[in-house]
């Protein structure tokens, strides 16, 4: 619960994803990413989704939002259970397109990496925020505009009344991301999916946006799925972390234990390969690396997908069957056939 002032704020499960699989049909053959991903997000909790390009973290979030291409190009299997106000749950994957439209931007919202391409350049900021409110809440234009104004204030935009009538190109990158956040929060969603929301921003602006998201979460109690490849950002914002590799969850734990004692060799390697400001200049640290490259999704290695790059791999153990996701205790899940031996050897 590092980072949040009141750890008790994390509450009941608002989103439960079970065995999510997405298959893309390509001319070269089917590609399955993610391959059986399950996780939950609780009220007030931030779940960070970490992985390198091609790991399936973005496809996972798009599938939850039902934004993947339509069949036959792409098939989604599994369950995405969202809690509704009455206390029951609904499987988003079984909703009709029309029903889903009522959910998207209302119960569950998403913000993206590039705030310029996600905003419509020919409408004012105020009109774009008001549109969502008008659509979901069935209120008049004046009330919607008032709500938009309140939202701009909430996300810390200076001179909000003036900004309502600004066009996206008038705003800087950080301001645009604030507008995107205002729009996503227009209907008090239970879950916010943030896909690399600070990657395109400078560090000082990134710090502002991370602080804003945390503050808004404390105020509204929304659950956040935060997708990023930046482990520094994960350490700042996450309560729980899920590491993906080649379409599968390879490790999942609370943020403290995950950084202190990563148990899957991939996570450990990833953490060691991060250059650290807090150690810089203290010598010339040559960074540890993970050799090789992310596997080609069309030619997945047999067994554990990470074994060709893993220094702990043993022939016959790691390249035969896909290891199961095991609980190492304390809700620390990992997928490695040799984790017990590796942990013993390390201690």
């Amino acid at each position: 619960m590092a980072g949040s002032a009141q750890p008790a704020a994390i509450g009941e499960t608002v989103l439960k994803v079970a065995d999510l699989c997405v298959t893309f049909r390509t001319p070269a053959g089917p590609i399955e990413v993610p391959r059986g991903v399950s996780f939950t997000v609780r009220r007030g909790e931030t779940l960070a989704l970490v992985g390198e390009s091609g790991s399936g973290k973005s496809v996972t979030s798009l599938a939850v939002m039902r934004l993947t291409p339509k069949p036959p190009r792409c098939h989604v299997r599994g369950q995405v259970l969202l809690r509704d106000d009455a206390g029951g749950t609904r499987d988003l994957l079984s909703l009709s397109d029309e029903q889903m439209r009522r959910v998207r931007g209302n119960d569950i919202s998403m913000i993206f990496q590039e705030p310029m391409t996600s905003l419509n350049p020919v409408h004012t900021v105020g009109a774009q925020i008001a549109e969502a409110i008008h659509f979901h809440r069935n209120v008049g234009p004046r009330a919607a505009r008032e709500r938009a104004l309140a939202l701009l204030e909430l996300v810390g935009i200076s001179e909000p009344r003036k900004r309502l009538d600004s066009y996206p190109h008038h705003l800087s990158g950080g301001m645009r991301q604030r507008v995107m956040i205002a729009m996503a929060l227009a209907c008090d969603p239970k879950v916010l999916i943030a896909d690399e929301p600070t990657t395109a921003l400078d560090v000082t602006v990134q710090a502002q946006i991370l602080a804003l998201l945390k503050e808004l979460q404390q105020r509204t109690g929304m659950g956040i799925i935060f997708i990023t490849h930046n482990l520094g950002v994960v350490a700042e914002i996450a309560d729980r972390v899920m590491v993906m590799y080649a379409g599968r969850i390879v490790e999942q734990a609370d943020v403290g234990p995950l950084f202190a004692r990563p148990m899957m060799p991939y996570t450990a390697g990833l953490l060691r390969s991060v250059p650290r400001v807090d150690l810089a200049g203290a010598g010339r640290p040559v960074l540890e690396t993970i050799g090789g490259n992310v596997p080609d999704p069309l030619r997945m290695p047999p067994g554990c997908a990470f074994h060709p790059r893993c220094r702990h791999h043993r022939p016959g153990r790691c390249d035969t069957a896909v290891p199961a996701l095991e609980d190492a205790g304390g809700d620390h899940l990992l997928r490695c056939a040799r984790w017990r031996e590796i942990a013993e050897a390390a201690s």
């Binding site: 602080a211 250059p275 650290r276 400001v277 150690l279 960074l287």
Partner: protein, 338 residues
């Protein structure tokens, strides 16, 4: 860290400015706006040294890199490279110097010609600068370089699209090294790569620098990467250098408020470290209308009325450590809270 402080400068920049003039267009007649991308920047890079250049987007760090390579004509100032004054030279006069100074680009996808084989990409500089070289000698040199950057010499026959981002960046590095340069400008060479691959490429650059005794300007927005690679670091903000110091002393004893804010904003991959952030207000102002006096004063938590009056010069406050700030009474926080 073994910083060679005694080396003579290989490159010296003095008062270098690069202004871009926005011309009259249909919609903007009569007034001519000037983008002061780089405004009076001075530094030197010693032989065998890596100088890091950090700053946010719009700070002018890439323009500095391009200008000292004379890919831009500087608006003012002097650039001396190994005794030659580069400012004012014509293309023809620059040509014999070009092989000695090379650039590594950020984007490994757009910086390699997709229609050329890897071998051709790497040996093109030879065919330009040393056309008399025999084909066999060129092939041998390509193989040698591929080996140096950790790729198989067989890859010479392949095309860029067959390679991953990290491998392409290695190809870009091989191309930059083919003419045996003394000086390299690496402009965000690892920013487009995944973390695990980023570490491979950073290590490769450090290894090559050691092996070949290269002098390097390493440009990045990522403080941690710059800190791992550089002997000294220059921090830029809105076209000016605000602080310049040996890496260790910059990280442990920052003297400029902007450097402190950058350190504070950098997320540290350790959830056990909790800090009070210094959150800067707003964003970097437009270089068309930079603030008067100190360019950072509009976002500076320590600004005084006097900061608007004069441009603070970059002055030495400790051996080798210079800052451009009128306030000497500040006790700024170092980067690490471990």
């Amino acid at each position: 860290m073994t910083v060679v402080q005694t080396g003579t400068p290989l490159l010296t920049a003095e008062g270098v400015s690069k202004w871009f003039f926005l011309g009259n267009t249909l919609f903007r007649r009569g007034r001519q706006d000037v983008v002061r991308a780089v405004d009076g920047v001075s530094f030197d890079i010693r032989r065998g040294e890596v100088l890091g250049l950090v700053g946010e987007s719009g700070s002018g760090k890439s323009t500095v890199g391009r200008t000292i390579l004379r890919l831009n004509e500087p608006t003012a100032g002097s650039i001396r490279f190994d005794g030659h004054e580069l400012a004012g030279l014509t293309r023809r006069q620059l040509r014999p110097l070009r092989p000695r100074m090379q650039l590594i680009f950020q984007d490994p996808f757009s910086s390699l010609n997709p229609r050329m084989t890897v071998g051709r990409i790497i040996d093109t500089p030879i065919t330009i600068h040393a056309p008399e070289t025999s084909r066999a000698a060129r092939r041998e040199r390509v193989a040698e370089l591929l080996h140096l950057v950790g790729l198989s010499p067989r890859y010479a026959e392949r095309y860029p699209h067959e390679f991953s981002g990290g491998q392409r960046q290695r190809i870009g590095i091989a191309r930059a090294l083919v003419m045996n340069p003394d000086f390299l400008v690496a402009d965000e060479p690892v920013s487009a790569l995944d973390v695990s691959i980023q570490a491979q490429v950073v290590n490769l650059l450090l290894e090559i620098r050691e092996k070949l005794g290269l002098t390097m300007l390493f440009i990045s927005h990522d403080l941690a990467v710059v800190g791992c690679v550089s002997d000294r670091i220059a921090v830029m903000y809105l076209g000016r250098i605000v602080e310049l110091a040996p890496t260790r002393s910059l990280f442990l004893d920052p003297r400029h408020p902007y450097t402190e804010a950058l350190f504070s904003a950098e997320p540290i991959p350790n959830p056990a470290i909790r800090r009070d952030r210094i959150l800067l207000k707003g964003e970097i102002p437009s270089p068309v209308n930079p603030p008067s006096g100190c360019v950072f004063r509009t976002r500076c938590p320590y600004a005084l009325p006097d900061c608007a009056k004069v441009v603070p010069p970059l002055t030495e406050v400790a051996p080798g450590h210079a800052k451009a700030c009128i306030r000497d009474d500040l006790d700024l926080r170092p980067s690490q809270h471990a």
